[in-house]
Symmetry: C3
Subunit: 341 residues, 3 copies
Amino acid sequence: MAEQKTLADLTAMVDGTLEGDPTVIVCGVNDLSNAEQGEISFLANIKQAETLQQTKASAVVAPIKCPSFDIPMIRVRDPYLAFAIIHNFFLADSFKAKGIHKSAVVGDDCHISEEVTIGANAVIGDRVAIGCEVTIGPGVVIEDDVTIGNSTCLHANVTIAKECRIGNKVIIHSGTVVGSDGYGFATDQKGKHIKRPQVGIVQIDDDVEIGANCAIDRATFGKTWIKQGTKIDNLVQVAHNVEVGQGSLLVAQVGISGSTVLGNGVVVGGQSGVAGHIKIGDRAMVAGMSGVHNNVDPGTVVAGIPAFPHRKWLRACAVIPKLPEIAKEVRALMKKVNENE
Amino acid sequence: MAEQKTLADLTAMVDGTLEGDPTVIVCGVNDLSNAEQGEISFLANIKQAETLQQTKASAVVAPIKCPSFDIPMIRVRDPYLAFAIIHNFFLADSFKAKGIHKSAVVGDDCHISEEVTIGANAVIGDRVAIGCEVTIGPGVVIEDDVTIGNSTCLHANVTIAKECRIGNKVIIHSGTVVGSDGYGFATDQKGKHIKRPQVGIVQIDDDVEIGANCAIDRATFGKTWIKQGTKIDNLVQVAHNVEVGQGSLLVAQVGISGSTVLGNGVVVGGQSGVAGHIKIGDRAMVAGMSGVHNNVDPGTVVAGIPAFPHRKWLRACAVIPKLPEIAKEVRALMKKVNENE
Amino acid sequence: MAEQKTLADLTAMVDGTLEGDPTVIVCGVNDLSNAEQGEISFLANIKQAETLQQTKASAVVAPIKCPSFDIPMIRVRDPYLAFAIIHNFFLADSFKAKGIHKSAVVGDDCHISEEVTIGANAVIGDRVAIGCEVTIGPGVVIEDDVTIGNSTCLHANVTIAKECRIGNKVIIHSGTVVGSDGYGFATDQKGKHIKRPQVGIVQIDDDVEIGANCAIDRATFGKTWIKQGTKIDNLVQVAHNVEVGQGSLLVAQVGISGSTVLGNGVVVGGQSGVAGHIKIGDRAMVAGMSGVHNNVDPGTVVAGIPAFPHRKWLRACAVIPKLPEIAKEVRALMKKVNENE
């Protein structure tokens, strides 16, 4: 909090080019409209460069081609990224372990680092392993035989069901459930749905972040697997035996059906659904509110319900409002052509 | 509960016209099929007036033009509204403070009114302010530096993250998370997603109601803001820095993307999605299951994915099932016209 | 766990035909790729019969017409169903009551069987009735006047609001809220939304399973009703006064609007929405991501937004990507035909 840096230091931190006094002191970050003196801000888009005239910020991170204003400027290729790096630097705080709150309930045979903060009324089952610098929020429930790596944070009221494995530097937001039963039933001849036991686990790898009130189901057998660096937004559903590759993004309210495999760097837009037992290739993108029924090739972009290539979809969408008119024209043409015969 | 009113009183309460004995005593409300003697019920639609012949209710709130039946009738312009007013009157109960349950955990330096009910195993952080006549359900977690106004009710297992501000007469249903981190990342050249710290808050104004298992993200900077009298249904996602105006309605499973601004009196139908950084004008309506990518003018109604004017959408939808036939006709026309050349 | 069966026993259990040594001992189940010696696995699809050459399983449940391999085989008409039956047999475990955890809070005048397991920090209100062999997970909140039948399991952090009735052998996964207020408001002439009190209940019948982070709203009057044997996936919204018949399936992220009635054996695909006040007939199916605005006849299959018969929808979807081309052709035809006149 009391961290201070000169503009020269910050410029070096983000590999930028400084325009202005390198000895200016910065002690915090903010957006352009809220920034006060002593804070650094950022401009993502040159088109909004005019707003630099009003800001009270002491300096700004800006695109390389940004015109100059009467404010010190760190020019970088990606101001959004550079600003995130600077912001994280100012927030970086050495972890302060507060220990296990006296109202928390901890089971038998656990291996819990001394360097943890476990909140009030948290409940931890038997044989749970928790690494160092871990924060467990109030009301969190961790069932038996779960393992949690180092520097992970589970926010208030998260539930981790039995045997699931959470890696290092994972963040899980409030209300999210990891390891609920997959939705698997076999239906007998009378229409009765027999529950298929769900005896697999969920494995969440390092650097994954999962939003609030998500549901990540355990596998029927084996594991549901969220790989390193993937970021999941709020209210997302990940079904049993799904694999999500590294560095993928699942935006809010997405649903991924059972046994589907997403590659690395995949982006699924908000409220989209992906059918079960298919593959989405590396770096493929699914536009928001789309429904994917078939495999998607690496690097391609799809949209629509059911989904097809995004460019074709954009063109098709442009026609849809005109359909009544087109239908009318076709009727008129039919009539004319038939009359001419 | 033991409240009693004459039909004369109730008629005055809703500014209606009474047909029948003004001295009849009413002591409760119910729907037509479940009502018992002594209860008042309501008829929303004249088409169902026949059902008045079977009800055991002692009186009914009905539309002005409803035919007469052998039951006392309070005629009003909006029976639905009048009945809600009467129902609320009968339920109105003076708040009974039960205090702080002995299993609840309360942090340091809090300002909590004596007139509160705080449920079992609730967890309240440091420096939290809670007004009078507030109900905090069991298992609720309120993090540090939160403020909560008067007469607000947080149902069981709600989470309010640090620093958020909840107004007066707010109702938040179970499982909802207010103040989870916004979904913001800057991606470096290697495809690694760097978390953008989310240091803003959520502000919920007076008379807002939020359903169960919603997620309202905190702002990156500044605030995510739900304004007075807005009502949000279950499982709704509100992203960082969104503003929702006064008296708006977000139906179940809606998602509003980051930095979008909704005006006053906006209605967003169930499961619809609204893209980020756009504006939805006052009293605009978005039909259910629509995807809004662009600004929507005040007072207009849109539908579809992507959304366009609702009337055009209705006509376009009527054509879609006929597309295979139209395509066939166009092929036939092409053939004929080409043959004729 | 230490349960053992011969192949002869298992074959009889599922009414199959054994090919191989009936004395082989099986002590567990697994999928083909993870199975070890001593475990039985299953093959759902003859097309993947080749995979039987690699498995280490000691036996396999397979379709009647599956070619023979060097592995004992129980042939059945529905391997998926037979395997579920065998798997449930191996998991079946006599209920071990652990009693009420000392950190749980139980209200007054409750009737709780001695044969229960109530987890740490669970909160149970006044006048709650809980049957035998019931498991209540940690952090669960059960409000006043709730009744829960026998052999039911509420996973961690579930909330059951006041007066709701949960049957026998019900499973509810973590984070789900049963009995939140329905979304009902009457809007006055100034645009203010007056809350309609929601004084009904939710009734969940026997053998129902509900996934994680769902919201099942209480009725305005009367009850919201989920009937016997229905299975609901994660993040599903069921509004006030909805009735879901017996043995229906609601896949993840589905939303059912108020007062709608679903028959028996209805299937609603993932992320679909059903409008309010309509009827979906017995054994009707709604494809995923569809929006149903009108009644659906028993036994029919619908798709699309708004939904229409699934077969027509499939054909219409095939045309949509070609719309730009068709529009172009129609323009060309118009031009030609007009020129010819």
